[in-house]
Amino acid sequence: MIKYLYLDDEEITTIKPYRDMVVEHSKELHIDVEHPAAFQNNSALITRLKGYQGLILDWRLDEISSKTDKKKADFRAATLAQEIRTRETEKKIHPLPIVVWSQESKLKRSYQGDFTSYDLFNFVYKKEEIVDNPNIVHDQLLSLALGYKFIDKFKSAKKKFDLSDLLKAKDSYVDIRVQEYFNSTARTVHEIARFIIQDLLHRPGLMIDELRLASRLGIDKDASKDWTKVLDLIAKYKYLGPFGEAWERWWAYGVEKEWWLPTSDQDSPISILNAKERVEIIKKKTGLRNLIMAEPIKPKYHTRFYTICEYTGKPLDPIDGVIISEKEPQPWQERRYISLDTALERRGEYDPHPTELERLKNIRRTRG
């Protein structure tokens, strides 16, 4: 059983429903709720956390007094998390994931401008998102705690470790620069965890998620009855390292080179073929019949799918895309895209990359 401690200064009747939604029917995850004022003294919290594998914090902890002793906490999530991370380095407490659960409006006011605290947390969940997808939050909390445990155990067992062992993958799947990152200094469990989540799982490149996988194979996964059979065929290339339970990923090299080339009997990479050709070959070579070719977002878009439109989640040939503005990619990371039309209509939360603005202006002009 994985146990999280959840600190929130709101009334228990307001916050308990979020907790209940997430742990409902769960045999694996348990969450205790407390008012933060009970832990004015940090060392009381450190002692208390010994029995937990994870911590959930509201972003603001210092606004509402506790019902029982009428006290307010005098700290916020960022200060508390900083303290815990320091104690972790001093080995006063075992490493554990810290996530934020907060209302979107409160986050907007304070967290989003506070870049210094981004590194402290593993994840920030808006309470609105928890309501929409309590099962996903459940799986992620569980996976975070398991991942921390695994990395901690792995790290203490070996002074110098091979990243491919930690990630449970072949050496050749892991970019040499990623290897270097781990060679250079002694990283803390929290740093390793953050690197895996932020730089390997969340940014496509070495690994791809299911939407990108379907895009590269040219398959409409929701319309294809045999999609799960395709997943079985490539199960070997699935990511099995820390956090893989909740963040399903596949090693791109494994699927595109080690599986596709011999399976298809083709010399050339899958990306050179259009979706129709890809699906025809997959059907012929695997004998799976119920596979439907993915359609492009707009009829005039191309179908050499390789990525997805981040806004619609639909397959996209990068030629019809616009790269988005985000932290500059590392050499092993791919750019992420939105479709040209999403960019022209300025929909969604993604902004076009500054180098795309001139092109968009031109296209707008020619389209009138």
Partner: protein, 252 residues
Amino acid sequence: MSPRKDNSSAIRAKIASGLGNLAQLLNKEKIVRDVSPLYKAAEMCRNNAPAKGIWGYDVEPLIFRDLGEIKVFQNKFDTSNATITFSMTVKGKCEPSEDEDPLTTLGMQIIMSGEYEDDTDLKPAFSAWHLDRHNSESESAFLHPLYHLSFGGMHLESQLDKKNTPVILADTPRIVHLPMDAILGIDFVLTNFWQTSALGFRNEGAYVNLLAESQRNLWKPYFDTLHGFWQANAHALSWSPIEIIPQLANNL
């Protein structure tokens, strides 16, 4: 004879670092939308041996933008927002002797995507070229120069709506062309689709070194062999000039 030391992995690493350097240069110049295909090619080359003593990599869709002002001969084609997509699969020998073909496989394709303005609508318009190393084991009805550049071909065909496109698509003529790797291939794209004035970085030392190395490795043996065709010892050439250019008349 004592067995020679196998330098293959060092050579793969060297080719990989050249690709990485090219990626950095192109990233700085901002004419490629996403340089990650080159980094991926570099890792593929570094970590994987296609066969003993062979190096190889794939460059998967590398998208160039902000092309120069290209002359298009029909005014309904709009290339102002056109892009070029470059893809390549290449394999070669890690330690070829001076007089043999250093490459074993080559497929390079360049697709230009623009728009065609008909009376009512903007339609996607394409053009495509591909450079192949002819696979001499496969039988073909036509003469194939070993390295040949053709217009169109299967890669263009698959992109088109077959009813509405007023272009004759045939993978001819097969124009004799020099062998390429990603560095030479990308330079071919740059020098054909951008004005020289936009390509100042081609004179920078790092770029010149990359080009010189690839040309020395791929072009020198090619020209040496062709040159040898008219020399006294032509029969002793280990790389046959007739393989390179099957049209060469052999009356020696």
